[in-house]
């Protein structure tokens, strides 16, 4: 069952990604991108990361891609805009990409995962996969843990251990990202506001 679902989602994700590469129409590319990203969200659900999956759907599919299409429409100088890339570039890029892929896959396959797990176990005493407080049954109820971690409390690390100093979690990164988003919001609004150049410099 899991294998079946994985196959479906992985095929959709990879197929969508390849379709993005091969497609020449931007909006179609966006559509395939949605398929690819949505399937990735499915993979996330399979990996017990339900919150991440939901976020992926909401932000990527619902937000980012809509934004991209919006951008397409704002910048379209004609209907069904296609800017074709040359076949030579395509071949070159696919060659490099294949090399890259091959290298990554070979590397991944060479890793001895069980051996690594054993090493970790010998170093830390317990299996790194069985952390107290973290959901081993894998039902994917990660929302509370993630929320607490973003607010500075780590259930998965602190519960059940007699630790002097509780971890601080991700409070600071969370705040930084918040501020970063605000900055981005303002920056994007500033960059995108309509400016009418009096004279466009011919050179440069």
């Amino acid at each position: 069952m899991e294998l079946l679902l994985f196959t479906v989602f992985a095929a959709a994700a990879c197929g969508g990604a390849i379709a993005v590469v091969l497609s020449q129409n931007v909006v179609r590319m966006a559509f395939y991108l949605v398929i690819s990203l949505g399937s990735t969200a499915g993979l996330f659900f399979m990996l017990n990361a339900d919150f991440v999956g939901a976020t992926q759907l909401l932000i990527y599919v619902g937000g980012t891609v809509v934004l991209l299409i919006f951008g397409v429409m704002l910048t379209a100088s004609g209907p069904f805009l296609t800017i074709k890339s040359s076949p030579g570039d395509m071949v070159q890029a696919i060659l490099v990409g294949a090399l890259f892929l091959g290298m990554v896959v070979v590397t991944v396959l060479q890793v001895d995962w069980d051996g690594n797990a054993a090493k970790l176990e010998s170093r830390y005493g317990v299996s790194s996969l069985e952390r107290p407080g973290y959901n081993q049954r894998g039902e994917g109820h990660t929302t509370r843990s993630i929320g607490a971690a973003l607010l500075g409390a780590r259930f998965d690390k602190d519960l059940g251990k007699n630790r002097e100093q509780p971890s601080t979690g991700y409070l600071l990164p969370f705040e930084i990202v918040s501020v970063h988003l605000l900055v981005v919001l303002i920056g994007a609004a500033y960059l995108a506001r309509a400016k009418r150049r009096v004279n466009v410099p011919s050179e440069f």
């Binding site: 590469v21 993979l43 990361a49 910048t75 100088s77 805009l81 991700y170 970063h180």
Partner: protein, 103 residues
Amino acid sequence: MEGVGINGYLAVGAVLFVCGVICMATKRNGIGVLMGVELVLNGANVNFVAFSKFGPLGLDGQIASLFVIVLAAAEAAVALAIVLNFYNNHLTIDVDRANELQG
């Protein structure tokens, strides 16, 4: 139920990543390049979440991927603004036309 090992997920991540790279390298459309970036980030995200289940990362992997998603959204907004600006100046979004810094 037979399990899908970590390798499967990593392979999917690798495919997404490579597709993203190729997309970035071949698309002349600025927004297409952006989509390539999204694919690359997504490939990385798959790896993060996979390691969070199979590896020692735990919740940290998921949170890292959350940050990646959020920052990717922010990056998309800014990049889009840049593309719009580019379009205002060049009346096209062909990135090959953006070669003013050519040596």
